[in-house]
């Protein structure tokens, strides 16, 4: 601590901007998660389908999403597509990269969750006189949801943390906002410490909420 003086005032003055950055972070993570879930269901169905075309399409998406760095995919959306004359905004490039990756990871989660339920349960429910819709509604999906709940929470937390890469393409989420604020005030350390604390708090709140919801929905029967 020899020659560095902390000046927190400038950070507190900029707190509203940081909060709006945090809001954008949550915004982009929630939206990318929701769209990611929809696509992941389709990908999981594709990966389980007998059609070679659907299987391969789903497989290519899933493996690309799982084996490339998130930052690379953001650059691809931001710089790469520019070569085709498609210029995405920073928000949209981060959003699309997150959707792409979330869908890939969640697809495998969904497929694993679905396949973990023995097919005998399906036959058993059928023999009790349930139709297919009822079997899924009352037997398969509730169990599956229980199994994919934790991985989904983790993926959501991952999205929140990875949206911080927006800093590198000039997006105005929490990290980007922090970067912008510190570059005009030169209080780099103070701003990034506050940003780190904010990320920590957001993550913990999400995990807390997820735990409470799990308690309420699953009534302690989480597998």
């Amino acid at each position: 601590m020899d020659n560095y003086e902390f000046h927190w005032n400038v950070v507190f003055d900029a707190f509203p901007q940081l909060l709006s950055g945090a809001f954008t972070t949550i915004h982009v993570s929630v939206l990318s998660m929701l769209l990611g879930i929809v696509i992941a269901v389709l990908l999981a169905l594709g990966k389980m389908s007998d059609s070679k075309i659907f299987y391969n399409m789903a497989n290519i998406w899933i493996e690309t999403a799982r084996n490339l760095p998130a930052l690379f995919l953001i650059y691809m959306a931001y710089f790469g597509l520019g070569a085709y004359g498609i210029h995405l905004s920073p928000y949209f490039s981060v959003f699309s990269a997150l959707v792409f990756i979330n869908a890939g990871y969640l697809a495998e989660t969904f497929r694993g969750g679905f396949q973990s339920i023995p097919t005998t349960q399906y036959s058993a429910a059928k023999s009790l006189g349930m139709n297919s819709l009822k079997v899924y509604r009352h037997v398969i999906l509730p169990q599956m949801f229980r199994r994919i709940y934790h991985p989904m929470t983790n993926q959501f937390v991952w999205s929140i943390l990875m949206s911080s890469l927006g800093i590198l393409v000039g997006m105005n989420e929490l990290s980007g906002e922090t970067q912008r604020l510190q570059s005009t005030s030169f209080r780099t350390l103070e701003f990034f410490i506050v940003a780190a604390v904010m990320y920590f708090v957001i993550t913990k709140l999400v995990l807390l909420a997820s735990g409470l919801i799990a308690k309420k929905v699953f009534k302690g029967e989480l597998s």
């Binding site: 601590m1 020899d2 020659n3 560095y4 493996e63 690309t64 799982r66 084996n67 490339l68 760095p69 998130a70 930052l71 690379f72 650059y75 691809m76 710089f79 790469g80 520019g82 070569a83 085709y84 937390v157 943390l161 990875m162 911080s164 890469l165 800093i167 590198l168 990290s175 780099t188 350390l189 990034f192 410490i193 940003a195 780190a196 990320y199 920590f200 993550t203 913990k204």
Partner: protein
Amino acid sequence: MNLFTPLSWNDSGFILTGIMNTIYISVVAIVIGTILGLLIGFLRAESNKSVNMVLGGFLDILRSVPLIIQLILFSTYVGAMGHPLSPFIAGSIILSLYTMAFMSEVFRSGFDSVPTSMRTASRSLGMSYLQTVIHIRVPIGMRAVFPSWLGVALSVIKDSALVSVIGYMELLRTGEQLISRTQEPLMILIGIGLFYFMISYPLSRYGKHVERKMAI
């Protein structure tokens, strides 16, 4: 004067440096992270609630703050304190700690997966505490978590791209510099992506293969 020059074969050396640097920092982080993670994981499996709370809290911070913020924060901090570190050293330290945070959870569950009866059995055969750890708990526990370990290692290779933010010349950053010189983003990015894919895909396939073999 032409500001932009096209991509040429002379650039391959530059890209190769980036590839080597990516591999280099990933290996360093994986090795150090694994060793520290093994120690911390063992400590967590062995110790009581209060020690676990302190350790868990520290690991929680590493896991809940984005890596990119950790990198910027650490390198600014050491700079502001008057001991600036090279991007490689600063990057290795943070990436190793980050790896450790994930590895320790993996190893902890590995240690927990060894049944207590097995430990008691080995002790009753006359093994000392240390022998039990070295010959029974580490080999059996670690085998069970190998696929998870590989998963963490793969994510470290991918996350090593973030070290570019503090100025380390890894693959993605060399690509970025080539892009700003040649203005050919698509081709360079596709080349870089292929490289990441070539490292990550076979390893993830292998991990799945091992997982399947262990499940049977």
